[in-house]
């Protein structure tokens, strides 16, 4: 189950949805907005997503993780819009019988999400400049 939201992510509520009496291990990953990227001081981030394909491609990633590292339940939420330093941009949680599957499935999910989901991140720098991550040189006019 994957979601996209503009609201702050409630990790505790998400985790509660994964409670399962057969679960012995729970692994979660949170992506936080940090104050620096590649040497530049970051003031805030802006995330844009194309939700229909985030949901379908994200669901596909969860299924692949399940096939590789059988878990009991997993969820993922990605936030969009304007985020401040310290805000949670993404949450992935996996409950499994044992810790090995929990860790491996969680890692697989976040690694694939980052490279496959149609989500884009614009960094707003402290110096007033801004730039799309992975895309600084990909359009004629450089930064906006």
């Amino acid at each position: 189950m994957i979601e996209v939201t503009t609201d702050p992510i409630d990790a505790q509520a998400l985790k509660n949805q994964l409670c399962n009496p057969g679960a012995g291990g729970f692994c979660s990953f949170e992506g936080w907005v940090r104050n620096e990227n590649e040497g530049r001081a970051v003031e805030r981030l802006e995330y844009e997503a194309f939700e229909p394909l985030v949901l379908s491609e994200g669901q596909q990633v969860l299924v692949e993780a399940l096939q590789r590292f059988p878990y009991l339940d997993a969820r993922c939420v990605h936030r969009t819009g304007l985020l401040e330093i310290g805000d949670m941009a993404v949450w992935v949680g996996v409950a499994a019988a044992h810790r090995d599957e929990a860790f491996k499935a969680c890692r697989y999910i976040i690694d694939e999400l980052k490279i496959r989901l149609p989500i884009w991140k614009k960094e707003h720098y402290v110096d007033g400049d801004s730039g799309w991550v992975n895309c600084e040189r990909c359009a004629e006019h450089g930064r906006h």
Binding site: E48, L53, S56, V90, L113, N134, C138, A139, H144
Partner: protein, 84 residues
């Protein structure tokens, strides 16, 4: 499929949208594949990337750059992604 003039709705995301100044536009394009759409709209989305660094969807399904496009299709052009 050989190229022929088709009506294609092109959607731009993130940097591409900012460059084009619009999120979506309907164009008459002489194209056979998704790659043709990408190449012919370069002045609009402004990408200097090879298409392989970007992704494409047709009618809200992920597609290959070699996928054929048909009259009336909606082609979504995705710059390099950066989730998480």
């Amino acid at each position: 499929m050989s190229a022929s003039v088709k009506t294609i709705t092109v959607r731009y995301f993130a940097m591409f949208r900012e460059h084009a100044g619009v999120g979506e536009e309907t164009l008459r394009l002489d194209v056979a594949t998704a790659k043709d759409v990408y190449e012919q709209t370069r002045p609009r989305h402004g990408s200097k990337e090879p298409n392989g660094h970007c992704k494409v969807a047709i009618n809200e399904e992920m597609a290959d750059w070699s996928s054929p496009v048909n009259d009336g299709d909606v082609v979504l052009l995705f710059p390099p992604v950066a989730g998480g």
